[in-house]
């Protein structure tokens, strides 16, 4: 005769203990699953798919820019001061980065495809710096792309002399498509350069 049949109480306690162990393991695994599996995926707005055309007429996608930190400015060439100033400031930043400049892609997206053709954009951005990439696309392509990146633009006026309202800040993007920060035209050139240096040294 075994001990357990002799002592039914002891057997019950042993079963209870095992049941408790199973319960604890179940609770712990559930808690882990809650934390690990249900936590929100890292937001990578700049890894969302898009398709646009660059200044040489080549089709580019989000993959073209992932892998290198980048700085994005959205504007149009019929813009007398805000856009050329932003481009001149980015050209200056590239100059000051020296040999580190190849670790940053500067992109100018024209939200005015009606007037800004890739051929026009080519000469326009090269005037500031040949390393700046200029993109544009169809109205639908631009709408989808800017929406995913929290960029606003709107056509104001009609006929030949309309204006584009647009997000003025420059968006800094990590190599994997995560948002890093913005450059603001009210900041000094030094502050902007520090932010860029922090981005490319990540």
């Amino acid at each position: 005769m075994t001990t357990s049949s002799k002592w039914p109480l002891l057997r019950t306690i042993r079963w209870a203990c095992w049941a408790l162990v199973v319960l604890v393991v179940a609770i712990l695994s559930f808690a882990w699953a809650q934390k690990e599996l249900l936590k929100p995926a890292e937001v990578k707005p700049y890894a969302t798919p898009f398709e646009l055309t660059d200044q040489s007429g080549k089709t580019v996608t989000e993959q073209t820019f992932l892998g290198t930190p980048s700085a994005w400015f959205f504007g149009f060439t019929h813009c007398p001061d805000v856009c050329p100033t932003a481009l001149a400031e980015m050209a200056q930043a590239l100059k000051e980065l020296g040999s580190d400049a190849n670790r940053l892609t500067v992109v100018f997206v024209s939200v005015d495809p009606q007037r800004d053709t890739p051929a026009l954009l080519k000469d326009y951005v090269a005037y500031f710096d040949e390393r700046i990439v200029a993109l544009t696309g169809t109205e639908e392509q631009l709408r989808a792309m800017t929406k995913a990146r929290f960029v606003f633009y709107k056509k104001v006026g009609s006929g030949e002399s309309y204006e584009m309202e647009h997000t003025a800040g420059i968006q800094l993007v990590r190599a994997d498509g995560r948002f890093f920060g913005t450059l603001d035209s009210h900041e000094t050139a030094d502050v902007r350069l520090q932010k860029i240096r922090r981005l490319i040294s990540e």
Binding site: G75, P80, D81, P84, A88, E163, A168, S185
Partner: protein
């Protein structure tokens, strides 16, 4: 003997003899003089102003355009030295299809631009500039690139002072944004 030695030591400051010491000082002075003259040169070269009755118009300029650009931004300063208010109502130029006065603003991170209704007010005794708070003369429908060094003849039309001929100098965009005075948020 002691004095002579002291003098010789003095002359040998930095391990050079008297003559090279003096020539160094002269060299340094010349260099400084040239440097300061060079520094002054652009300032004197750029100073250009126009007068009309009690208005002093200082340094009208347009920023060089990138190729393909159809618009350029012009800036100027007007000092109203008189007792009466005036107003800049229009800018005209035979060489530019259209010139309007606009104000760019960045509000809540969005850049927008509006024509300045009624032009630029010039209160008596005040200095006002196109260039402050995002204001500018917008040269529009350009048919060719505007390049540094070019001059654009234009006429400023004032409410009281009438038509005043001026010349806008085309200048390179400066790395510091002195042409675009900061706008408010």
């Amino acid at each position: 003997m002691a004095t002579e030695q002291a003098t010789r030591i003095n002359y040998r400051i930095g391990g050079m003899d008297g003559a090279s010491c003096v020539s160094r000082i002269v060299n340094a002075l010349t260099r400084n003089l040239i440097a300061s003259l060079l520094f002054l040169l652009p300032v004197t070269a750029l100073a250009h102003e126009f007068k009309a009755e009690s208005l002093l118009i200082d340094h009208p300029k347009v920023i060089e355009t990138p190729p393909g650009a159809k618009v350029a931004a012009g800036y100027l300063t007007v000092v109203n030295q008189g007792q009466a208010d005036d107003r800049l109502v229009a800018i005209e130029s035979a060489g530019i299809p259209r010139i309007e006065m606009h104000a760019s603003k960045i509000i809540d991170g969005i850049a927008s631009m509006k024509p300045m209704e009624g032009g630029l007010p010039l209160p008596a005794g005040k200095t006002v500039g196109l260039g402050e708070d995002g204001t500018h003369a917008m040269f529009m429908d350009l048919t060719k690139q505007l390049k540094e060094g070019e001059k654009i003849e234009a006429v400023l039309v004032f409410e009281k002072a009438g038509r005043v001929p001026v010349v806008f100098n085309v200048e390179k965009r400066s790395a510091q944004k002195n042409e675009r005075h900061d706008h408010q948020q």
